[in-house]
Symmetry: C2
Subunit: 272 residues, 2 copies
C-alpha cells in the first residue's frame, strides 16, 4: 500500500485509526479458548468488527512469539486475513547488521506479507537500509516512544542541544523518503510532536500511547496533522478488551467507532 | 547457566568461543536439503563437531524467522539439542514497552528455554528490566556494535563528552548485575574495548565481529579480558561455512579448534 492509497483510505473512512492486534490467551474471552486457533479466531472477529473504522492493523510480534511456532502461524493467518485496503504493520522493532536485517525484511515482507515493519534505530543506517530496499514496503522507525524508558536515552543531548530522537529523525530522513519511511512518536509526549514536525513536516507518524497509556488524541491531531493527514494513531487494549464476554466484537466495534468519530472531528478541525 | 558455571566451562575448555548458529538454506551444503529439517540437521552437525571448543551458541533469530513457522520449530529444536553445559543465547535484539518485553522474555526464556537474549537499549529501562526479572537468565544489551552503522548514533556525544554507548553502559549497570547482564561490544572497535572496560570492568562482553567482519582476537583479549575472563567471542560464518561439501562438519571443527587454540594462548597471555 503506497502513501496516496493510504491517504485515500483515511479520507474515505474519515479515520486514521490503527488497531493493535495484541491478543493474549489470558485476556481473550474464555469461550474462544475451545477454538483450534483462539488467537486467530479472536483477531478475525476484531478485524471484521472494526474494519469500517480502521485504516491500519498492527500485530505486535511479541504476543505471537510467546506462543511458539503455533503463534507464528496465527500471525501468518492474521496478516493473510487482513484485506489489501488496510496497512498491515508488523510491530517487530527489529534491527541488526545488514545481511541479517535483509533476512528480517524477507521474513516480514515476503513470508508474512506485511506492508510495514517497525525498526529500532540504535544500530544505525546499515541496520535500517535493507528494509527500505523492498519496493512498496514501509519502515516505521522508532524515534520517540511512549514509555517512561524513552527518557533514558532518547532525550540524550549533544553540545548543540540536539536530542538523540531528533538526531535519529535528521539522519534517517536521507535513508528513505516520505513514501517508504514513517516514524513512531508516542502520544504521551503530545507537546513533543510539534518539535518532531519541525524536522519532518511531511512524513507519516505512527502514534501509540493514546488510551491505556494516557495520551490525548486532540493534542496528537493539533500538533501532528499535516497536509496529507500524516498520522496513524494506534489503540490496542482499549478496543481489544472493551468486553471480556461473548459481545467482545460489538464492544470493540463501539470503541473503534468512538475513536473514528473523534478522528473525523479532528480532521475537520486540523485537516488541511 | 550462572556466571561461575560459565567461567568454569571457559577454564575447562580453555576457550571463550561462542558459535553463531546462523544457517541459511542458500549456504548450507546441498546434500542436507533433502532432510526433513535441513536447518536443524545442519545445526546438529555443527554443534556436535564444535562442542569441544565452544562454551556458548548463539542462533540469530532472523535466520529462523525468514523461514516462517517451520523456522521457528528449527530454532526450538536447536535450543533443545544444546547441552546445559553451554550458554544458549537467542540473538534476537528485542526490546519493547514493559508488558511486551515480558512476553518476549517468556517467548525466549520459557518457551524456547534460552539462557540469554540480546536486547536493544533504545527504549530504555522499562524495555530491558522485564528480561532481568527471570531468575538465572541473562540480558545481553547492545552497547557498541560491530557494523558501520554503529557510528550513526552510538557515538553521539553529550556536553560532558560522554558518548551514547557509554551512557548506555553507565545507566544500565544499575538495572542488573554482573550476574545477569552482559554487553555486546564489537571487535571491529578493538581500541574502544579499553574505554568500555573503564566503565564496566567486571561484566561479561559478547564480542561479535571477529573473522568475516575483520576484528582481531588478540586486541579483544588484550583490552577486554578481566579476572573472570569476561569475554565471549562469537564466530559464525567462518565456522559454519568453512566447507560447502559433505565434510562441512570436520571443516567447522577445524576452524573452531583453531580459534580455541588462539584463545588458549590469549588466556595464558592476558588471563589473570
Amino acid at each position: 500500500m503506497n502513501k496516496s492509497q493510504l491517504v485515500e483510505q483515511i479520507r474515505q473512512k474519515q479515520s486514521y485509526l490503527c488497531v493493535g492486534l495484541d491478543p493474549s490467551l489470558e485476556k481473550i474471552p474464555s469461550h474462544l479458548l475451545k477454538e483450534k486457533d483462539p488467537v486467530f479466531a479472536f483477531n478475525k472477529v476484531i478485524i471484521d468488527e472494526t474494519l469500517d473504522f480502521a485504516v491500519a492493523y498492527k500485530p505486535n510480534t511479541a504476543f505471537y512469539e510467546a506462543l511458539g511456532p503455533s503463534g507464528w502461524e496465527s500471525l501468518e493467518k492474521t496478516l493473510e486475513y487482513l484485506p489489501s485496503s488496510v496497512l498491515k504493520i508488523a510491530d517487530a522493532k527489529r534491527g541488526d547488521i545488514g545481511n541479517t536485517s535483509t533476512l528480517y525484511a524477507k521474513a516480514f515482507f515476503e513470508t508474512l506479507k506485511a506492508d510495514a515493519i517497525t525498526v529500532a534505530p540504535y544500530m544505525g543506517k546499515d541496520s535500517v537500509a535493507p528494509f527500505l530496499e523492498f519496493e512498496g514496503k514501509w519502515v516505521i522507525l522508532l524515534a520517540l516512544t511512549s514509555n517512561t524508558g524513552s527518557l533514558d536515552f532518547q532525550l540524550f543531548q549533544d553540545t548543540s542541544g540536539t536530542q538523540l530522537f531528533e538526531e535519529v529523525l535528521k539522519k534517517s530522513q536521507t535513508w528513505g523518503t516520505v513514501d517508504n519511511l514513517m516514524y513512531v512518536v508516542g502520544a504521551t509526549r503530545g507537546e513533543k510532536i510539534a518539535d518532531v514536525r519541525k524536522i519532518i513536516p511531511d512524513h507519516f507518524l505512527l502514534v501509540p500511547g493514546v488510551g491505556a497509556q494516557g495520551g490525548s488524541l486532540q493534542d496528537v491531531a493539533k500538533y501532528g496533522m499535516n497536509d496529507n493527514v500524516g498520522l496513524l494513531v494506534n489503540s490496542s487494549r482499549g478496543i481489544l478488551y472493551a468486553s471480556s464476554g461473548v459481545d467482545f466484537g460489538k464492544a470493540a466495534r463501539n470503541e473503534a467507532h468512538k475513536l473514528q468519530e473523534e478522528m473525523e472531528q479532528s480532521l475537520q478541525e486540523y485537516g488541511r
